[in-house]
Symmetry: C2
Subunit: 334 residues, 2 copies
DNA sequence: CTGAAAGCGCTAACAG
DNA sequence: CTGTTAGCGCTTTCAG
């Protein structure tokens, strides 16, 4: 193993100079810096992570807490995760993966051992049990998602309430008067998962404001046909649907087709989901994008600022961006 | 922060005794061990990860390399990952998540810095570019998947060839004479992904051996209807289908239904996929289980043995387990 | 702008 | 069975 003293000898400088040349924490003459960098390259030097963490009190590792609870759309969750890993690497950090098997004291453990410098927490509930803990820990953290009482925490996410509203308003503008929200599976609401609840809020608020009749349907995967039938039966005037349930999007559109409803001729469909998904449905879906990559990147950037002692906003709400595709159109009066 | 000297003082012993009491690396009298454990509990002591790694030359962290390349079924991949994390925790290890953005030298970096003790590598290609690197690294590693030349590497996976054979033989036993394999998306085969290739091998071998006519169809997500039509058109005698493509399973069964084919009356369908998926299809599917949890756990266990210097078998092939469900039946001669 | 030297907290010889 | 002690490789004062 090549160590800092090897590099120092090779470059004809002291170890501390090597350290400073690499970290930039004090001015180094251009010439020595060159020599150091060359020595580093020639020897293939890589600082030992443990030694660095011990002496520098910084591990350069972030923890990503991903419960992966049931009802969540795993590919969507993983988009966030990949974005977090990618962005973290740009800041010379690695990412430790924590699932929730250990419960809350997995967090305590990680904090106490100094294994990580900071936490990114996903799958936030409105009244998340981890919040008091996160507040008490002296590790900086960022939540992907907004709990009911985000005071003293740094949160980032798509503005799901606004996203729900945007979908409804788009339908209202097209003349629709009766809309339904097909949401995540019931257990997601039972857990009071923040993003799901906020979509419902936005959806309902906007529908009321626009004087539309509206209903909300949490929905299991595989139940596309059933919900489709139920909607037609219970809400015969229905002409607009908002889907906030990735795996159900294509099957639901198919089910409507089988029941004799054309999208968008008879029924306009919008969704909140990754653009890629919206585009891949057989009838491309007008949707509010779920900007996983941006959210993941933002979370890391916020954390880096906090680690540098820079102040950051408590709340980063990304404005919804809607893309019109083939699945929505004017209401045609029969 | 509470450190080992604090615990030692509290327990009235030396730091090394605390260390040994905790690691069990040398005999400690029952009495002192008790005192140490009590002191640990009272003080809430947790060894500093960096210090431990530096002095002990072991970080207690494993790296999980998950490229998440396109065409893979993310939920299935994540089952492995969760199992790895869970099992690693049982051995007091944490898991670092590496995606493949950095390419191969992400592995080198990790190895050089001593951040991790060992590697678990997923998404293995038959002629995987990472193999030479893995062999040259002096970090122990385990592959989830079998490359073409696994010499000198430790590999664990479901025996996908046997799984393909099992599906065909099951259909043969039921009297079917013409079968088709609906496989992963083309890009998965293009990359020569090991598990996909091996299923094809097993499928073809068994079909030939049983004197059945057979075809193989790599298949994009969303193309269920197209393949279904193509199969009926090009292989009119077809009565048995093997599906090795998770997201396509339900849509494909649906498509057959829409084309007027009843499962299993007209067409028997088997799959290689997680049991949970097979059970959730509207017609529960006879399947060979994808034992993600077991494979992930095995991978970690193998790694732990290697870290202990215990010899392990190069190859751990899990025998396929088939569960008959509602989707297969005797061929009915028309 | 650079060096010398004192630890960071823990483990593992070495010594008893 | 237990204690003493010498580092592990790096960062960061302190000194120049």
């Amino acid at each position: 193993m090549v160590k800092i003293t090897d590099v120092a000898r090779r470059a004809g400088v002291s170890p501390s100079t090597v350290s400073y040349a690499l970290s930039g924490k004090r001015p180094i003459s251009e010439e020595t810096r060159q020599r150091v960098e060359e020595a580093v390259r020639e020897l293939g030097y890589r600082p030992h992570a443990g030694a660095r963490a011990l002496a520098g009190r910084r591990s350069n590792v972030l923890a990503l807490v991903v419960p992966l609870r049931s009802g969540l759309h795993v590919p969507t969750v993983m988009r966030f995760a990949v974005s977090v890993v990618t962005t973290a690497r740009r800041y010379d950090h690695d990412v430790l993966l924590l699932t929730q098997e250990e419960g809350e004291d997995g967090l305590t453990r990680i904090a106490d051992t100094g294994l990580v410098d900071a936490l990114i927490v996903m799958d936030v509930a409105l009244d998340d049990l981890r919040l008091p803990l996160l507040r008490s820990l002296d590790l900086p953290s960022v939540l992907i998602g907004f709990p009911a009482a985000p005071e003293g925490l740094t949160c980032v996410d798509l503005d799901f309430k606004a996203a729900g509203e945007a979908c409804v308003e788009h339908l209202a503008r097209l003349g629709h008067r009766s809309v339904a929200l097909v949401g995540s599976p019931p257990e997601v609401y039972m857990r009071r998962t923040a993003f799901a609840q906020r979509v419902v809020q936005g959806f309902t608020t906007a529908a009321d404001r626009c004087g539309m009749s509206s209903t909300v349907h949490p929905c299991e995967p595989g139940a596309a046909r059933e919900v489709a039938e139920q909607l037609l039966r219970e809400q015969p005037a229905l002409t607009g649907v908002v889907v906030h349930n990735e795996p159900l999007l294509q099957p639901l559109v198919d089910a409507f087709g089988q029941l004799g409803l054309r999208v968008p001729a008879d029924l306009s469909v919008t969704a909140i989901c990754p653009d890629e998904l919206a585009e891949s449905v057989h009838v491309p879906i007008t949707s509010v994008a779920l900007p996983s990559t941006e959210v993941g990147a933002r979370a890391v950037e916020l954390l880096m600022k906090k680690l540098n002692g820079t102040a950051v906003p408590d709340s980063t709400l990304l404005a919804p961006k809607m893309t019109e595709r083939a699945s929505t159109g004017r209401r045609t009066v029969a």
